[in-house]
Structure formats: C-alpha cells, structure tokens
Symmetry: C2
Subunit: 217 residues, 2 copies
DNA sequence: TTCCAAAATTAGGCTTGCCTAACTTCGTCG
DNA sequence: CGACGAAGTTAGGCAAGCCTAATTTTGGAA
C-alpha cells in the first residue's frame, strides 16, 4: 500500500501535468507545502517504485502505474468532496480540506458505496470530472479563462477547489460568465481579468483565473 | 493535535479500564499489535503530555485529559461505524476496520454532521454506547456473559467489534440468549460456555464470551 | 559569451514510532 | 526462602519524511 505522502505526491504531479504545466520540483514543493529538498528525496522514491520517470534537473512524468494510482486517489478525493457537500451539507467551498484527509483513510469498499449512494456522479462540487473506477477519466472540453479573448462568453465549468474564498466569490458551477477586459493589457496570459459572473462584476488576479475553466462559445 | 498513534493508545487504555482490567503494558501491546517495548516508549510520551499516570512496573491510568480525548476518539469510531453500517449498508460485522482508519481522519465538523444525519444515535452497531459530544458517556447496565450463572437468560446488549466471524456467529444485538452450561466447570470465569442464542446452540470460548454483555434478568 | 539568480540536488540531521536484544522487577510455586 | 518465568524497562537501531545548509546545474540577460 502506498503511503499517504506518496499518494499526495502522485496526485500533485497529475494535477500539474493536467494543467499542462510540467511537474517541476518547485511546482511540487509549492503545491504540497514542503521544501524542494523534500521533493527531490521523494521523487527518488517514486522513481524507484516505478511511479514516475525522472531526468535530473528536469521535471518528473507519471508512468502508467503512477497515473493509475493518481487517478485512484483523485477518484477518492472527488467522491468524498461530493459526499461531504451533497449528503452532509457542508458548504461546497469548504470540503477540500476534509476530503484531503479522508481520501487516504477510506477503503475502496467505502468509496464504491459512497459512489453508489451518490448515483455514480460524473462531477465533483467544483465541476471537476470524477475518474472512473477502471482508471480512466473523461476530459473537460472547456478553456482556461486566462486563455480566453476579451469578449468571450460561456459558463463556469470547473474551478480549483483549493481556495474557499475564491470559490464563494465565483458563486457556482454553471454560472454565465463573460470576460470584459484585461486590467493589464500586456502579454495575453498575464495580469488580472475583469469578468461578469451572473450579475456580478468580478476582478480575477491571474493565478486565480488560471484555475477557471469555461465552456466553449 | 494528537497523532493517530496517541489516539489509538488512549482508546485502548480506555477500553481496558472500562472492561475493569488494568491497562498493563502487556494488555496494550496485545491490543494494539505492537511490542511491549513500544508501549513502554509511548507511555512515557503519554505521561509527558499529561494523558496518563504511570507507576513503573504497574499499569497506566488515564487522567481527565486522557479520558476526554479517548472518549472523543471513541465517539468518532462509533459514529463512523454506525454510518458505515446504516447509511452505506456495510455488514455490521465488518465495519470496525474501516472505522479504525477513518476515525483519525474525520474532522469534528464531519463527525457532528454524521451524528445529525444518523439522528444523534445512542448506540453503535454492536450495542456500545456512543460517547456524547460533551465528553460524557452513558454506562451500559448489563453483565458480562462470562460472569453469569448457568441458567441465566437475557438479551445480547453489546458485543466486541473486533472479530467479524464472532459477530456473525452471535447473530445480532437484542437476540435472546441463555447460558446453558459451562463446558469446563472449574472456576466460575474460566473455560468455554454453551448458550442458546435465538434458536441456535452456541459454544463460546472464554475470551470471546468475556466480550458479551447481556441484559439483567 | 559570460555571469547570475533561480532551480535542483546532495549531505547530514531531526522526529515519530516501531523493532530486537539485553537487562531488571515481580510474583508465584516448590 | 529462592528461583524461575512472565512482565516490564532500557539501550540501541531502523525507516519514513521532513528540515537546513551547502553545492551544482540551468537558462536568461547583459
């Protein structure tokens, strides 16, 4: 059985790769809240266990085995988030932390029962797809808000679950949204954005905006 | 925050004390599946943290602080067991292990929501009382089957949750039960017992029987 | 092209909680 | 009483995962 740490690292690597950012030592250290030296150490272990490929001074890449485990962890995480939100009635913007702890303690049996109880849902409370039991996952075909042109309209498909205040700010999944202008009109992918979300006008700092997927036009 | 290990030790000490057996190094080592030396080491830590009193070569005793934490852990454990059994539909004799893992990962908030979902239940699936949120617990006024005289009749009030096969064997909480005879008629509290439980005739080895509480006549 | 800051790695250390092996204490039985 | 086996403790070690400090590599800017 993989340790909770190993599971956390694989999940973090998967999430970075999925965001089309290479899984660097720096990125993992920031994402996991540990020092870079700790990441280097754990990466060696993950490599030895066959979970990742690693080229010194380059990032890491999940092997098929690593990806499989990462998706299993992500499945647990997202099913638990949905359970906490839908069944226990916890606010959708506050379930991440609890899920983070429970995902390492819940057995496959418990997870599959929760999945049944929830009706084999396709998405978690933040719009992220729930990996299937067979180790596959359906892609989201939205665009990053930060990649969109000014004037783009759509609906919020998916947001990061890491920051409760940010989640409350965006109001919800499925909300109509429009990109009004970029407050800093420099490079296309830099600086804050102004949007309409529902009836509110919102200004998003870039790091937040990169974590918003909107539906295609 | 106390570690999962600390919580497990305190829970084990509490359970031993409640069974009116002194919490010895041996008893804790057996109950927790570790070596005696490990128990001695951890007991030092528990003492330093103010959870237990300890006299060398005698057992340990919970302080008020230790008892409070033990009851919090036990509350988590029993609420989770009931949830797994009643809401997820896991067999009542198989929920112990999953609860053991989840009790260290579930936040107070999650536990209180589960408690509400379950209707603030008084007993777990094995008939054990669920400690209250305020750190108190209602006593069970039953007798240990192994303490009863031949001929005693009553209902199963509570059984240990540690051994699934044993649980299935006993059929359930509330079942009528009668002590027929002791297979070894030596000292009153020794050797296997023969009982009627429901329609079945059952032979209990002593260690199992000591974990059965029956209602008074 | 060189240089420098950021990224990455190595070396070495700390904590937790477990282990084995060796020793001490306890309590029971002859 | 005395001895012996079980219970308990101490000493020393190990693995996981984190840390800091020192060193190496990289890649972009002057």
């Amino acid at each position: 059985m993989a340790s909770a740490s190993v599971e956390d690292y694989l999940k973090a690597i998967y999430l970075l790769q999925t965001a089309r950012t290479p899984a660097t030592t720096r990125g993992l250290a920031d994402g996991l809240g540990v020092r870079m030296a700790s990441v280097t150490g754990m990466v060696k272990q993950l490599h030895a266990a066959g979970y990742v490929r690693h080229e010194r001074y380059r990032g890491v890449q999940l092997t098929a085995k690593g990806r499989r485990l990462a998706l299993r962890v992500l499945r647990r995480h997202r099913i638990i988030e949905l359970f906490l939100s839908k069944v226990l009635g916890l606010p959708w913007d506050e379930v991440h932390e609890d899920a983070e702890a429970l995902e390492h303690a819940a057995s496959d049996r418990v997870i599959e029962r929760l999945n049944t109880l929830l009706g084999s849902p396709a998405f978690d409370p933040h719009g992220a797809p729930i990996p299937h039991g067979d180790g596959t996952i359906s892609p989201l075909n939205g665009r990053l808000l930060s990649d969109c042109e000014v004037g783009h309209r759509g609906r919020i498909l998916c947001v990061s679950d890491k920051d409760p205040a940010f989640l409350r700010y965006l109001a919800g999944i499925g909300i109509r949204i429009g990109l009004r202008f970029r407050l800093v009109d420099k490079a296309p992918f830099d600086g804050p954005l102004a949007i309409h979300a529902g009836r509110k006008k919102i200004v998003l700092g870039h790091p937040a905006a990169t974590r918003v997927l909107v539906s295609p036009p």
